[in-house]
Symmetry: C2
Subunit: 694 residues, 2 copies
Amino acid sequence: MTIPDLTDVHPAWLPPEAFRPIGSRRVAVLGAGALVDTVRAEVAAAQARYGGPATGPATGPSTGPATGPSTGPAGCVLALTGADLEGGGLPEAVRAVAGEAGPTGPEGYALARRDGVTVVVADAPAGLLYGLFHLVRLGEAAFAADRPVERHAPAAARRMLDHWDNVAVHPVMGQVERGYAGGSLFWRDGVLREDLTRVRAYARLLAAAGINAVAINNVNVHAAEARLLTDRLGEVAAIAAELRPYGIRVHLSVSFASPVVLGGLDTADPVREEVRRWWAAAAGRVYAAVPDFGGFVVKADSEGQPGPFAYGRSHADGAGALADALAPHGGVVHWRAFVYNHRQDWRDRSTDRARAACDHFAPLDGRFADNVILQVKHGPMDFQPREPVSPVIAAMPATKLAVEFQVTQEYTGQQRHVCYLAPMWSEILGFQPWGPDGGGRTVADVAAGGGGLVAVSNAGDDPYWTGHPLAQANLYAFGRLAWDPRLDPAAILDEWAGLTFPATAAELRGTLHALMDGSWRTYERYTAPLGVGFMVRPGHHYGPDVDGYEYTPWGTYHFADRDGVGVDRTRATGTGFTGQYPRPWREVYESAARCPDELLLFFHHVPYGHVLRSGATVIQHIYDTHFAGVEEVAEMRAHWDKLDGTGLVDPALHSRVTELLEEQRRCAEEWRDQVNAYFFRKSGVPDAHGRRIP
Amino acid sequence: MTIPDLTDVHPAWLPPEAFRPIGSRRVAVLGAGALVDTVRAEVAAAQARYGGPATGPATGPSTGPATGPSTGPAGCVLALTGADLEGGGLPEAVRAVAGEAGPTGPEGYALARRDGVTVVVADAPAGLLYGLFHLVRLGEAAFAADRPVERHAPAAARRMLDHWDNVAVHPVMGQVERGYAGGSLFWRDGVLREDLTRVRAYARLLAAAGINAVAINNVNVHAAEARLLTDRLGEVAAIAAELRPYGIRVHLSVSFASPVVLGGLDTADPVREEVRRWWAAAAGRVYAAVPDFGGFVVKADSEGQPGPFAYGRSHADGAGALADALAPHGGVVHWRAFVYNHRQDWRDRSTDRARAACDHFAPLDGRFADNVILQVKHGPMDFQPREPVSPVIAAMPATKLAVEFQVTQEYTGQQRHVCYLAPMWSEILGFQPWGPDGGGRTVADVAAGGGGLVAVSNAGDDPYWTGHPLAQANLYAFGRLAWDPRLDPAAILDEWAGLTFPATAAELRGTLHALMDGSWRTYERYTAPLGVGFMVRPGHHYGPDVDGYEYTPWGTYHFADRDGVGVDRTRATGTGFTGQYPRPWREVYESAARCPDELLLFFHHVPYGHVLRSGATVIQHIYDTHFAGVEEVAEMRAHWDKLDGTGLVDPALHSRVTELLEEQRRCAEEWRDQVNAYFFRKSGVPDAHGRRIP
């Protein structure tokens, strides 16, 4: 087990310096297992760099009392609770902490410091690995004063990133669909990369953030990618081998039509015996090559992908065929709920894409196999900067649900704009689908009790991993929120900054918070107003085009006319979408007076003179937020400029962010001017403050 | 010389049957030269098929008196006036016709029938070839009653088609930029086609329509295409060899940056001696390979193509460097006037793309070398279905101008819609830039006195050549109008139909006129209204998107707001574009009251209630024309459906046109509904007739 050490690639939140506190101490790692070996290798590499006394094998005399030499810094023990040192059992300190902590579960750990020794204990190797990264996050603080026993365990067992990577470069979508950080980490120009060191480094970063599953290929499965399930399975195994040492299981996006396109059958009907046999055999081959394979991800009957509808079967039947094939091996099916009519007639105001997932899936509640996870986008549309929470999340109590986010910034600035998404995710995760009187149950609770969280990764072969260096924080924050959805986004930002800029985090903190804390709301201000969404350029989705999706088949409309704007989704006069929510939201969203301002145009078509809860009219709100959004970007830029020449961040990173902020300013102004001009031309209402609208 | 005889490719307007009248008669071809050999080969092939007595060599006894045997049909003589039959001179009948006709010029011919002999005479071989195709057009009528001497000569010496063919398939634009008829006739997947028989057949079709020049590659010259000028010159020569037997000279689009990208110089500055030497040497190599090479086509400083502005030089200087290199060989430079700022700020209403060509080029009048032809698009924008005539055409009396049309239907239905363009071209060609008091001088006169007509071809490797089978008529009509701009579009349609459907043209005539005569105006009705243009989907330009180009850098706006629509290009309050026209148009266009309705929104921003010269308001006109346009398409469809099963057209052709008419209906409805909905939402004015606007 070699710890990847890349040159020419930014270390993100695991720079060598972050390991100094561990590497300069005597550390004992007790226990056996592959992930324990990873912990041991991490510690050894840090010690080799920072001069800590070498740690011996897990068993044997040199691992004895885990205290450092009396002249050195205090020691540290990371131990599996079940470790038996050749019959001698665990050191007393470790046993004491483990006893106080109680069971840690398969990925949890407990941490304490007493009598000059920092102790991490875990019942299972994965917990020890996460405990190690917790120590890294704590830094010197882990070795300062005594700490009482803290227990840490992930809220959800599944914390997953989906890669929309293509094997072959797609003529329109490129190597990575909706990727803004260069090419794929896995493939290059149609073949598996020869050197997968960077995949190992990626796994390490993900583990440090708490991720434990990665789907390696695009949910839109094209011809080359389909074959990963069969004759290109070796590539999956090779990637799995790089992810495995960091506790990450590989998942594969597969085509529902695989029995036809790969197996040569004349049907993919999920209830046909030969189809089920084909899937069972395919799954068997996968597990023979990748024993800890996670499972399949399926986008079926969605935007042109094949699915069970072609055979008159339900999605429960469709998912079931794949689930049954995986079940003997412990695998799962992530079955996406993103099913809607993408050939809608824009003239037809009765069809409502927002309704589609619930209409399709809620009737199937309870009919999915146990190892099916229904993967639901957080909103009813498609990763817009502002959407209500998907009603599916409250509608399927007898189904395992995973909530899907998009770390890749398809609709949130495409990693050219600073847009720290943790506040959005946190707000969604804390949303109470049954309201404040619903026992306090949140979206996070639904996910934790089901399939956990899934997100589309924003990483690629860019030297900064994520295109925009500050977008690293989104990848980190997603992992941390998947582990613990109650974490405060600002605190996660501090964690991330402390790791990423270990020497200067304290001085940078103010600037980073000024740039990032409010950046999602800033982005919301200068783009589509009041939750109406989709005013983006069709196709690439970057930059404004107010009518770009208005007369298209995609179901994404705002219905602006000279009198008003917004989509009437009420039961009283609209599409009835509000009725998909339980109380109180079905009543709150139904009422233009009670509906939260930020979602008003998602649920209601109102006159431009409609007075918001904020007191502003809709039209003046549009003008005000668009002017404000651009001003906020200018302020972000000013904050960043002040770092120039201070040496607090690497000059190359500073320069890249400066260039991107300039593009963000340009683009924000374009958004402001197009949206304001569009609504001024339509409404004829001048800005109350007389500002220039082109 | 073999006459191409393709299977699996539609014969267009040269089906074998069209040669029956010639092929079944005794015909003498008198004279020598390559094009005379072509005439002879055409006659021989027709006779071989239809049993006419074989024709002997041009000189010798068997070519004697050109009358048929007394029992056979009357004979025919095609003769060069200079032909000397071994000192015996021309037959008497031929000498008599030639004498009456006088000089025919290099491409003209005279035709008569007397004493049972049809005579075609020409001073030069090309004229004889065109005379042959005239006989084909006349059919049996050429051999019926006596005909007095008719003289035919092209209005302009240059009648050219530009191919926007790429050698390498462009990732976005494909093999043929703005091509809607399959791949290139010349290249396939980056290499010259092995079998160029179809190029020969294409040349034959073009010659029969009157074309005598073809530029073979895209004006946007990418890396692979640039090398046609140097190490891929052999491909140019191979294509030239196929076009030559039909009197067509090859031209080549070249990159202004060739001295840099091909020659390795560090500059392409057109006044630098090493640059001029490079171009001279390059031209020398071209003429060594293609002695009758026509010249270069250059798109410079336009939409990203390199040009003289980079060196602070004028376009006269830029064109001059290339012209001087070609002059010793008799070649010309077609220098495109399509120069404008394609990175305009949409907020800036003072910049006007319509002004750009005149602003750039009019000051250079008289400064271009003699062998430069300034190639001017017919309108000031870009091949919209309705534009005013470009003011450049009247602004440069001391410059050779060619007027450029677009046979390929980029903005006129992309060969999925029936849109017979001859009426538009005819209207433009007959336009009097100096008004009715300007001595009757027309656009056609300007072109004829300068560089003639150029058009972008609509042909590709499609089995029907042009995608839509009826779009063949546009290719034919362009050639015929380039030859004689005064021809009546309906008469050209009859000619085309007579050739294309020789057995059934009489029965088809009514249907074809019903479908095609008014199809351009129908297209205009259901698309962008009143000359405003560019309401198309950005990028591919097919189908409606009213705001698609409204907030873009392309300079293509309509400025619709809740009160009105249109571009103020007046001198009084607008961009001043009207001032680029001479009287009377500068006054006519300046006045909203006098401006022709169909151009109103091109020149004026008016309220929706503005009353047109037709008596309708602008908004009601928009509704009325859009409903009418769709109804007209339905009528076209009904006319075509009546042919089903009649056997009057080939079932495969009928079926293809039927499918395309269905797409035209769908698309026309989409246009109608989007345009009407857009303007209803903006104006709030209901349709006076209460029709449904979605």
